[in-house]
Structure formats: C-alpha cells, structure tokens
Subunit: 691 residues, 2 copies
C-alpha cells in the first residue's frame, strides 16, 4: 500500500455526510467516541491506555507509521516504509532491499534519511489562527497564515527544533486548527528487514488484494546520543495474534482523505490532478520498467521508485472508480446543495459564511489555467531525479534561511529545517545513468506539457535536446557526493551564488519561474480554496454540531473495529491466511518466488500459523506500519495494506467491504525464530527489552 497520499493531491473543498458506517472513523486521540465504542463493543479504552498508546506510536516523517515494541527504542514498521533506507544502505556489494538485512552479526547501521516523531501533545489553536486570518483573502491570507503558523511553532519548539517538531494542523478543512508537538528522533538505525520477495510476496499483482501472504516487516531502533533510546511506553508484543471477531484498534497516521470534500473540489481533483498524473506516472513506470530490465544495477537503481509508482497507480485506479461512480457523484452533489440551501435560507448565515461555492468555482477556473505549469515547475515534474531535488533544496534553503521565519516558504521554517537538512545531506548511492534517464524523460515531458514555444521551455532547453541537457547536467555535477552537499548547505546563500556546479546553476536558473507560478497558485487558487473550505466547515458545524472525526491529515488517529472477513462477489473471504497457503501460492517465478531461507525452513514451520489477517478498522495510506492493538493494549498485528475496496475509502467508508490488511504477530515470531535465527529479536519482543 502507499506510504501516504501525495501532498499536492490533497483535495480542496469540504462536504458532509451525517450518517457514518459502524466502525468508520479516524479519531484524534483527544476526542475519542468512547460512548459509541462502548455501545458497539462493550469496551472503550481508558485515559491511561490512550496515553500509553499515544506515546508508543511513532510517525515516520517520510510517510508511514510505526510503534515502539520494546523499552530499548525498538520500532516495528513495514518493510516498504524502509525501502528508501534499504536502497540507500545498498551498494555494489549488497542489495539490502532485495536480499534483506537479516544477520545478527551485523551492526545496526544508521538509516540515512528516516526521522521518527513521537506525539507529545495536541493543543487547540483555532481561535488564534481564526483571528489572524479574519477577513483576509489571497496573498494577504497566505502571508497571515504563514506568520501565525510560524509564531505558534517557534514558541512550541522553544529554540530546540532538533529535539521538538511542531506543526500547526488544519483539521476539518479549516473548521479547527491544532498544534501537534512531537519529539523528534533523527538517529534511526536498521535492525532487521526480510528479503523483499517475502516482504512483498505477490508483488504488484497482490498489492491491495487479499488473501495475502506478506512479511511486510522492518525493525528499526531509535538512538539517542549514540545509544538505544529509552522508551518505557511501548506496546507489549503478543505472539498469539488476534482471534476472528476480536475487537482491534489501529493507531497511526492516515495521510489524507477527502470525505468532507465537496463535489466541486473532487471533480477538480479528478480532472486536473488525478487523470493527468495517472498518465504521467504510467509513462514513468514504463520508462523505469524497461530501464530495470537492462541490468541488475539498473534494477537496483529504480526499485524504490518503481514500487512507489506501482502503488500510486493502483491507488488512483481505486480513486477513479469512486470519482466516476454516478451514484457517488449524485450523493456528493446533493450534500453540497443541501448546505448551500441551508446557508441561503437565512440572510444572517449568508452574511456570516458568504458564497463559498462561488469562490471555489473561481479558484478552480484559475487553477485549471495553471495546474500543469505548477505541477511541472514547482512540483518538479519537469526535472526528475534526485540530483535536481538536492539542487533545488540547496538553492531554496539558502535563500529562505536569510529571511525572517514568518516570511519563509513554510517547508524552510526553522521548526522544519532539521528534517530538510537530514534529507539533503544524507548518504546513499546515486546512479548517474538512472539520473540522466529520469531527467531526460522529465524534460521531454515538460516540453510536451508546456509546448516548445513556451518562453520558459525555450530558456531551459535552448538548442539542446532533453537528453543532451540531462547528460550535461548529470555528468557535470558534484552533487552525488553528500560531503559536497553538506558544504553547500553550510555555505548558505553565498556558496550557492558562487557555485558553478551545473546542476546548482540550473536550479538557480529555473527557480524564479517556479516561485512565480507557486505564488500565483497559492494566492489565487489555494488561499481562496482554503477560505471557502473554512466557511463551509464552519457552516456545517453550525448546522450539525461537531460530532464527526476530521479528514485525515497525517497526524495520529485511532480507529476501532474487529477482525472480520467480507463477502466478495457472493463468496466469503476468510479473515486469516496461513503458512500452508503461502507455500501453495509460491510458483518459483517472480513475484511468487520465495527466498531460499523460506524454502529451506519449510519443514520447520507449522502450516497452521496465521500469516496475514483483515479487520474493518478504518485506515488509509500513511497508516502503513501501524500496530494492530487489542483491548489489553498489546500489539497483535502490523498494518501493511488495505484490500482493493479500501481505495475508495479516500472518499467514503464502506464497512461492508473496506478492510485493513495486517501481518499477524504469530507470523513475525515464527519468522524471526525459525527462518532468520533471530531469537535475540524475538526475545526482545517477548520481554520488552534487550537482554
């Protein structure tokens, strides 16, 4: 499944559905529906349970979830959440992504680019933000939002952004604002990962499907001051897994949903974002697929991006099924109409909420004009590859760090800089031929999308073909070297201005046009959209009260449900799979080829051991790596996917068939002890601390 929905696709607009399915809801931990839980299950967690679970949960800042599973900083998450780490640790001698990181004799090496966030507190800052934004529109609104967010965050990190991470989060699309304060861990090390062929057994064909047989597990460890972090709030690991029908909780960070979003905004999402990006990603997938077939080295270079692309394309397919469903569209339109009529029915309401849909329509008309340009120049679809990304970050960070915090682009505010710095200075292999291929292709897409006569395109390409330009930049740059990037980072604006590195020069060259389109997009598309959404959210609160959970925002949420199969085309799908089924499904050919260790271990394993299971917990991309927890507060599973019906969950939750897919803790225990000979880790899980 996906780590998280791409931020730029987070939709605009707000809608509503007062009725909710039985186990629907991604609830913030400070506002749990305990009465509803008790009514349905005869149980609701008490404050101590919630507090401990909150502290045991971690967010992987790159787009996943996880949990502490020992007092010595051991973190359980998904293999696919550690793809980037495994790729970056790999080299000519080892492909850890393919072969796993399994031996206990090995040190726990540092993941170059993983940051963990542990939620410390949630503070309601609605009044403060509302006051700052009151009556502001367009550019003034953008500036006011930045200023108030910066001021709240600065106060929160209290001068120590390396220790604390603070984010002002928009909930209910502007109905509420909350400050999320996290403890930040940047020294995160690789402890264990199985081979990709068991972690992702069944590959893309089985992704988002069930029955399923994956050990999509990684174990990481948080370090502080060079030693394992002390994490007394962890989830005890129950090696028995859950039972069918048992109540389960999932705590994690669902990335983004658009359940409150109006049809107006969903149509824009579909037509201007998803459909064009589906075509872009599909073509990119084709390039990577063929590139990967050229050599093992090429396959290694492309493996992480290929996984991301496959995953996102499957998500989009699911989204489009919902976004072209006439009955869904009719329902959303009816909800929009009802709220419009409710506002229009009373002049006082009109005075208070205005005409949000008129504002949305205008914002979207402007958006449609510049979306392609924005995607190409600012989201970077025109450039491609890691080297350009490094260059842009270095160029922008240098310029932004010279500005007052409140005036910076938000991602470069001081509260966020540690993550940026970690990312841009982190080690990991760069494959020049891969970089050149990606960049040549992206530049060609740019010319195609904007047209050969576009002044920006002419300025960028001149008389060069995309391939020629890509070759010149990639072969000439020194940015593949992390030490060189670190020097440029430390050198700041002066170092950037003086640099004659061709990729830096190129990033400087394209930056003014990218910033220009971003500013127009923010001022004329996003600001009015936010303004309209806020008005809609507030009108809805006034009409219905605040009895719903907010749309997902990649912040900590708790969902409840139970272990439960579903009916697929008239047939029951059982909630558990077992080891016997894994071996029965293995064909010997990719992606159904088992690692040698698993073939050898077959006779040692109990065929009845559960492998994966499904629950009706309400999750979405970003929940990858979340623990499944029982009433006792013990880990009984590890979320790694949803079934195919879960994809529509981005827009609406259907508890008849939307299912979360998890690795059973019993399977993890068996794998560690009997396949990987890692009794040390199994013991740590069993006792809750290292020996």
């Amino acid at each position: 499944m996906q780590r998280i929905v791409i931020a730029a696709l987070a939709a605009a607009g707000v809608g509503f559905s007062v009725s909710a399915a039985a186990d629907e809801g991604m609830w913030t931990l400070n506002d749990l529906p305990t009465a509803r839980m008790k009514q349905a299950y005869g149980f609701a967690p008490d404050p101590a349970w919630v507090d401990r679970v909150q502290k045991a949960a971690v967010r992987l800042a790159g787009g996943c979830s996880g949990s502490f599973v020992s007092a010595d900083g051991l973190v359980m998450s998904n293999h696919h959440c550690a793809n980037e780490c495994l790729s970056r640790l790999s080299n000519d001698a080892h492909n850890y992504m393919t072969d796993g990181f399994v031996g206990k004799e090995e040190d726990e090496p540092k993941c170059p680019n993983i940051e963990l966030n542990q939620l410390v507190s949630i503070t309601n800052v609605t009044d403060k933000v509302d006051a700052a934004l009151a009556d502001k529109t367009g550019a003034a609104r953008v500036a006011a939002q930045r200023a108030v967010d910066s001021s709240i965050e600065q106060a929160c990190v209290a001068g120590d952004p390396d220790q604390w991470r603070c984010d002002v989060i928009t909930l209910y699309h502007g109905g509420r604002y909350a400050l999320y304060k996290y403890r930040r861990f940047q020294d995160v090390r690789m402890v264990f990962a199985p081979e990709q062929s068991i972690a992702f057994f069944g590959g893309d064909p089985d992704n988002f499907n069930f029955p399923r047989y994956d050990l999509d597990l990684t174990l990481l460890r948080a370090y502080v001051d060079g030693k394992p972090a002390h994490t007394p709030n962890y989830l005890p690991f129950d090696v028995n897994g859950p039972k069918a029908g048992e109540m389960t909780f999932v705590v994690g960070n669902p990335g983004s949903t658009q359940r409150e979003t109006s049809w107006t905004a969903l149509a824009y999402l579909r037509d201007e974002k998803v459909i064009p990006y589906q075509a872009y990603l599909s073509e990119e997938r084709g390039v990577l697929w063929q590139f990967s077939r050229e050599s093992a080295r090429h396959a290694q270079a492309a493996q992480d991006d290929l996984f991301y692309g496959d995953n996102t394309l499957k998500v989009f397919k699911g989204w489009l099924a919902t976004l072209t469903d006439e009955s869904f569209i009719a329902k959303k339109k009816a909800e929009d109409t009802a709220l419009r009529q409710w506002i229009a029915a009373d002049p006082a309401r009109v005075k208070q909420y205005g005409h949000p849909w008129r504002i949305l329509d205008k914002a979207e008309a402007k958006g449609a004009e510049i979306q392609t340009r924005y995607d190409m120049l600012e989201r970077g679809q025109a450039f491609g590859g890691d080297l350009f990304k490094y260059a842009r970050t270095l160029v922008r960070a240098a310029a932004e760090r010279d500005k007052p915090d409140a005036k910076r682009l938000p991602e470069y505010r001081s509260a966020h800089l540690p993550a940026v710095q970690q990312s841009v200075t982190s080690s990991g292999p760069i494959y020049p031929d891969y970089e050149q291929t990606r960049m040549a292709w992206a530049l060609e897409k740019m010319r195609q999308a904007l047209g050969a006569d576009d002044p920006f395109v002419k300025n960028v390409l001149g008389d060069q073909s995309p391939d020629e330009l890509a070759k010149r930049l990639v072969s000439g740059t020194k940015l593949a070297d992390p030490a060189y990037r670190k020097k440029l980072w430390q050198g700041g604006e002066r170092a950037i201005e003086q640099s004659d590195d061709p990729m830096i020069v190129f990033a400087r060259q394209v930056d003014p046009a990218a910033r220009t389109v971003r500013k127009t997009y923010e001022d004329d598309v996003e600001a009015p959209t936010d303004q309209a959404e806020t008005a809609i959210a507030k009108a809805r609160f006034a009409r219905d009260g605040a009895k719903r959970y907010p749309d997902a925002t990649f912040t900590l949420r708790l969902t409840y449900g139970r272990v439960k199969g579903w009916i697929e085309k008239g047939k029951k799908v059982a909630p558990f799979t077992h080891i016997d089924g894994l071996y029965a499904r293995a064909t010997g050919a990719d992606p159904y080829k088992l690692p040698a260790r698993w073939i050898q271990a077959k006779d040692k394993l109990d065929g009845n051991t559960p492998v994966n299971f499904v629950t009706d917990n309400d999750i979405i991309g970003g929940n990858s790596g979340s623990p499944v927890i029982d009433k006792a507060g013990h880990a009984v599973g590890l979320i790694f996917d949803g079934n195919i019906h879960s994809l529509g969950g981005n827009f609406t939750f259907n508890d008849a068939n939307n299912r979360a897919v998890a690795v059973d803790t019993a399977f993890i225990e068996t794998a560690l002890r009997k396949v990987y000979d890692r009794n040390d880790l199994a013991d740590e899980l069993a006792r809750g601390h290292r020996s």
Copy 2:
C-alpha cells in the same frame, strides 16, 4: 495527427444538436448541402465535379485518406500514413522512415501492407437491414446483422473480392444503413517520401499545433497487373496553393466522431475506455521511449509504434478536456432529457421507440464488468507485438474460413479476406528483442489487470514470469518469416492444428477465452447498445427530420470551408506559414533538426513560399492525407493535422477555433524541384501524367 480513431473506442449511444456551426459537417457525397453552401459562399459543386472528386479520392484501408494526382495512378497522401510501409521496407542498410525515400534512380518498391479503396457507389440498404433486425435482441440480433451484412456484401462483390471491396456501413448510429462499394488496389508502391525530420518537423511537441512547418507528404503509385494504374479521374495539381479567405473543400475519410452520442454513452467512453487506455498507452510509451534510447536499431524497431502512441495520447488529452467540461456535459444531458421527454410525451412513441436509455444503462453496467477482460483478451492488450497478432490472425482465419460466410466473425467474411491475407503474409522486418519486450510487458499488464488468481492468467503463465514466457514464445516461433506465415495461411485449419510453433500453440491456447468474452461483449453490450442507438436515431429523425450529416464512419465525406486563421488567447493566428519561419524554428536539435538536404538548399529557396496553412474545414483523424480542393476541383493542399482545438471536434464542432492543417501545394512543388531534385515528379504533377 492520427490516422483514425481506434475502432474499439468508437462510442456507443446517440445524441443530437439541431443547431450547427457555419462550416460544420462531414457530408456524404450523395447528400450534399448545396443550398447551404451556395448561401454561404455563392458556390456549390455540380454533379460532375462531385463525381470526379469521388473517383479521384482514395482511402488507405489502414486508416488514412489520399487522392489520385495523375492519370498514371500517382497518389498523394501523408508521410505519417506511409510510416508502416517505410518501416517495413527498411532494413539494416536503410532506414527509409528516418532518411526518406527520395532518389529517382530507385525502383518504386511495393509497400507490403497498403490497400487503396476507390469509392464506386453508395447504395441505401436501410430497409433491408431494418427488416432483418426487426424485434431481434442480443445474440439473435448479432447473428441477424451478420447474416444480412454478409448477404449484401456477397452480392456486391459478385465473386470477385480481389477487385471489389463492399462494406455495409451504419450511418446515424443505426438511423440509416448504406452499402459502400470500392475498387480495391493492393499493389501500391512507394514513390517518394521525405526525411521524417522534415515530414514531422517539430515532432510530438508541434503535433496538433500551429504555426507549423511540415512536409508531411508521401507519393505512392497504384499498380494494376504490374503497371501503373490508369486513373483518368485525378485532381489537377495547382502549384500556387490557396489564398487567404478562399473557399476550400476537403474530401476524405474521417474515422469516427461521437457528436450524436448521448451523454450516457460518452460517460462510458470516458470512464471505461479512454481513461484506462490512456494509462495503458502512457506506460507503453514509457517502455518504448526507453527501449528506443538503447540503440539505433531499437529506435528503428519502435519508431512506428511510438509515433502512434504519442499521437493517440494527444488525442485523448483533447478528448478528456471536452469530456470533463461541465458545460458540455450539461448540454449533452439536456439534449438526452429533451428527447426522452419527447418520446415519453406520447404513448405511441413509447410503443415505437421503447426505453432506449434503460437498455443503454443495462448494457453499460454489463460492459463495465467485462471491459477490461475484453480489452485484454480480445483487443489483445494482454499479448503485444506483431508475432502474436500474426498468430491470432492465422489461427482465427483458419477456423473462420471453414464456416459459412454469414456465420463468420465479420472481419473474416470472404469480402474482407483479401485485406487480411495481404496483412498477414506481408513482408517487413521483425525485431525479436522488441517483440519480446512488448510481449513481456503486455503479459505483465494482463496479470495486473485481471489479477494473479484469475484462472485464465494462471493457465497462461503457469509458473513462468511474463518475461520467461515471452522469451520462450518469441525465440521459438518461426512466424517472423512471411513465407512460413503464407504456408500456414494456405494450409488452413489442418496446418494450424498440426503446428507445434509455440506462438501458434499459444494463440490456440488463448483463443477460446478471447472468443468467449467477445461473444458476451457482442451479445450483451454491443447488441443492446446498437438497438438503443437505433431507436434513439429513429426517434430523432421523426422529431427533427434528417437534415444533419451522420457521424464519421471512415467513409468518404466532403466538407467545405475557407482558408482562415483564428484568435488564440486574444492574438490572431495567421493562416499561412512560410519557408523563412521554418529555418527560424530550426534549432539543430531533435525534433527541430532539419535534414542535411534542407540546410544545403536554403539559399535556393524563396523564404516567402507558403509551407502550411489552416482552414475551417470540419475534419477528424482518418482525414490525414485528404486533398484540399478549390472550386475548380484542383488540389491546392494536403491535410495532415488539425490544431489543438480540433481534438474536441470528436464531440462537438466549434468553428471559432477548430482548424484543419494542410501542406501547401506550393511547398510540395518547391521541395520536389529545389530540395530533392525530383523534377520528374513535379512535372508529372504539373501535367497530370508521366512523361
């Protein structure tokens, strides 16, 4: 531009718009709006003009148009219509597609796979077909349609299908049926083609754009009995080209439009066909793009398919702009509603026309269930490459030829067999690594689309990966050899049954499942759709009279209009480009790199010579290669594209900005004489016959 809209995407359903733009209309030659023309232009062609133009016009059966331009069988069409011929004539020594076929010392070699059709007569067969279909539904309707079509065609070809080609054409989506009888030319030879870099100057970035500078020309020659055909009805070639504002006619074969189609059916087209196929083709484009970069030989192998993919993707982008336009959708829905209400208003009408939209809804629900399977198995998206196509054609033709004509799959009826045979036995290079790549990729898409647990997928792949299977089939088959294919064709069912060629065995293996889904699709989706469309068309005739042209059907149509620019974002676009502009646009880098001949000839050319021009004639894909004709009936241009606004013309014609793009005859004359030293051809054009 495209040769023709993909047949499988021809939409279902019928809609209506009584008002029409000034120069709108693709008129059948037996039903021209002469009064309207006279009113607007003070001129309408007389019957002799029409008769001569009809006979001078030719259809390239592969999806293009053309015209006789001398009495010795010389045919003018587009370079991009001869891509396949140029690719197939190419070999390790010559890449005719890239380098052109320009020397007069060369023989005129036979194009392996071009068939020309010259329209001889149009006969109204509506009563006969209506009688055969009366009250038939589902499978019975399919069988009845095949039987009546077969009987009409058999009578028409009168035992000589090599000489005559006869097609029963559905006009107005079932409102009318007509028999089109053509003279068939299968010996078509390559006379002249320029280098692709001038034929397609500006490449994909400039495709469907204007201003434009392309010599998208090919000259072919029809032969009969080994000698140039005698074609007294040809278009005299006017080397002066047209003037701005001059009245122009375009005669050619527009492939397919969906202007009469109801919104119900257009929504199905968008959601179930265009969006998924856009993703498929995008990914394929990525594979081909990277494959092409691997070597010059790879680029040669993929060039024709890459062109097709680029072109189709640009068309889809234009289609989606219209199909997601809320005002267009609202207009179509209103038209549907008006006709439904008109029927519902009178019980006699309900009795006569039934409830066509209910039938459509049901057919589409069934279609949505099986569309992917149909596309994969029957349209061949699951297999990929030319070798499989040959194998399927051989396997099917053998089985079908043993059946009575009326019971065959329509494409194997005896009236159509000569084209099938020409295609399957034609020569041309096969690139094994290209075939394997395409097939491996397609098999992977099949597994992805149908799921790894699908019994068909399991049966096809067994324990092999897509790459392994593709390698086994491609390396083992002898179908690359045209002589071997010819032997199998001649050997019929017995030869196919006995063959152990792995690709033939594979095509046999997958055929039952493909036929099954096709039959379901035909009986439960297409037949009720046709039935509903016919009812809608007849209701509309009854309400409005038959004063409109029928949607395009890849049959001969005439459009009228004038040489005319348009206003683009407030700026005038002039209708002509000139040689000076061509040189100014050349950068030296692909796709703006001029051939050496053009660089050398620069000083000899008059910079004011017109290159390309635009008119407001109403054309669409399939019109590629159509002549632009003046009032005198002389050729003054050669259609090769539409502007970007023409893409929406598939659904609605906007004469404010929809423009056809043509090569000026003056440019053709200059190129032949001054760049290619082909005075012999320029003279033949000037005099109307060879020396």
